[in-house]
Symmetry: C2
Subunit: 230 residues, 2 copies
């Protein structure tokens, strides 16, 4: 654990691994709060709900940060994963759509804790503009380009009705934003260099319904699989 320079490991972390790193990070924070100094891949994998071999392979993509016979230093691993995910810097986030969902997101305390700062809450409804939500004044959508530039927004959240989502998306992209989290139930059209991730509750429920139907269907033979990956 002396601070050697452990070969930053050529760029190429698998997407599946990237998606699990936040899970490990959360588990590690839990261990850290309880004062645990080191953790084995077996323990950490158990807390994070994954296979221990998978965990070790995931971590090996970042470098060799473990100690054989001992495990991983919790604080050191937290730092390394945070650095890899880009959480050692702060990110300004703009939320668009101050409706039910947008306000819930703005009120959610879980963002700030991990390097994300809600820089602005935008809405098109004049009746909404000016209201204070979670210590933030709702601003008019016309100020979008201004907000992106002045607040240095790099990630935006779209929580408008589906019909407005593509328009809002285009304006963010035009203003230089290249990461979008979309809650509107529609597929956004963006240039190749822009990343979009979507959250769609309706789709999640439909997937659950599919499996539920299969279970209830009582087909010949108990052949449904196990719990889905979390």
């Amino acid at each position: 654990m002396t601070s050697r320079t452990p070969r930053p490991r050529e760029r190429g972390i698998p997407e599946a691994t990237v998606a699990r790193l936040p899970l490990y990070l959360r588990a590690l924070h839990g261990l850290s709060e309880r004062g645990t100094p080191t953790v084995s891949s077996e323990e950490l994998a158990s807390v994070a709900g994954v296979n221990s071999a998978k965990l070790r392979k995931d971590l090996s993509h970042l470098g060799s940060y473990g100690t054989r016979g001992v495990g991983y230093d919790v604080e050191y691993l937290i730092y390394q994963i945070s650095r890899e995910l880009g959480l050692t810097q702060d990110w300004s986030v703009a939320i668009t759509g101050a409706g039910n969902l947008g306000r819930a997101l703005a009120n959610y305390g879980g963002f700030g804790t991990r390097g994300f700062r809600i820089a602005a809450l935008l809405d098109a409804d004049p009746a909404m503009v000016g209201h204070e939500v979670a210590g933030l004044q709702v601003r008019h959508i016309d100020t979008l380009e201004d907000v992106v530039a002045k607040e240095n927004v790099s990630i935006c959240v779209i929580a408008t009705p589906a019909a407005a989502a593509q328009g809002v998306c285009d304006r963010f992209v035009g203003a230089g934003v290249t990461s979008i989290l979309n809650f509107a139930p529609m597929v956004l059209n963006v240039p190749d260099h822009v990343d979009v991730r979507k959250v769609d509750l309706s789709i999640e429920l439909q997937i659950l319904a599919f499996h539920e139907q299969r279970k209830a269907g009582g087909d010949k033979g108990p052949e449904w699989v196990g719990a889905l990956d979390q």
Copy 2:
């Protein structure tokens, strides 16, 4: 479109396909509303934002519902996908946690439209119980088992703080619920026959931050990939 019996296609739809069917369904509903009678795999794939070969292979898992040289009948395909996903029946959903998120979910109109009925909204806070949200009285968490039995709940949504999630989960599982949608930032422990899907905003943001950092990092060579799958 005569009602033949087209061989229900042996059970075994790939999970990746199941996750995309709702996407196709949404696109088809859009086409249906605009009166489009038939659609080619190319067009539908474009609207749904996927590769057309993938779309055809996905649909082929349900059966041979297309017509070569013509495409797919929109209404017929809507019916077939709905049936496969289990949307031809209604599902009762119980939401637990009437906080910011739980209330936003309850107020969201997009559930009822596709066969999901919010049967109950549960909370542990006595001050919250009895309040009306989206035409629904918030009920006390103690009535959980009652609600599951009487309302025939098969899917539950957990929107409580993380600390309470596992306990609530256990009670739902004990009451016979086998499909869970979890918003709390923690890994739920469930028996094998229970399906859990999670939605974690914080993880989504962290994944975006990772890619954002890579883009900004300006490593040697423009070698970041494209837009993520939506």
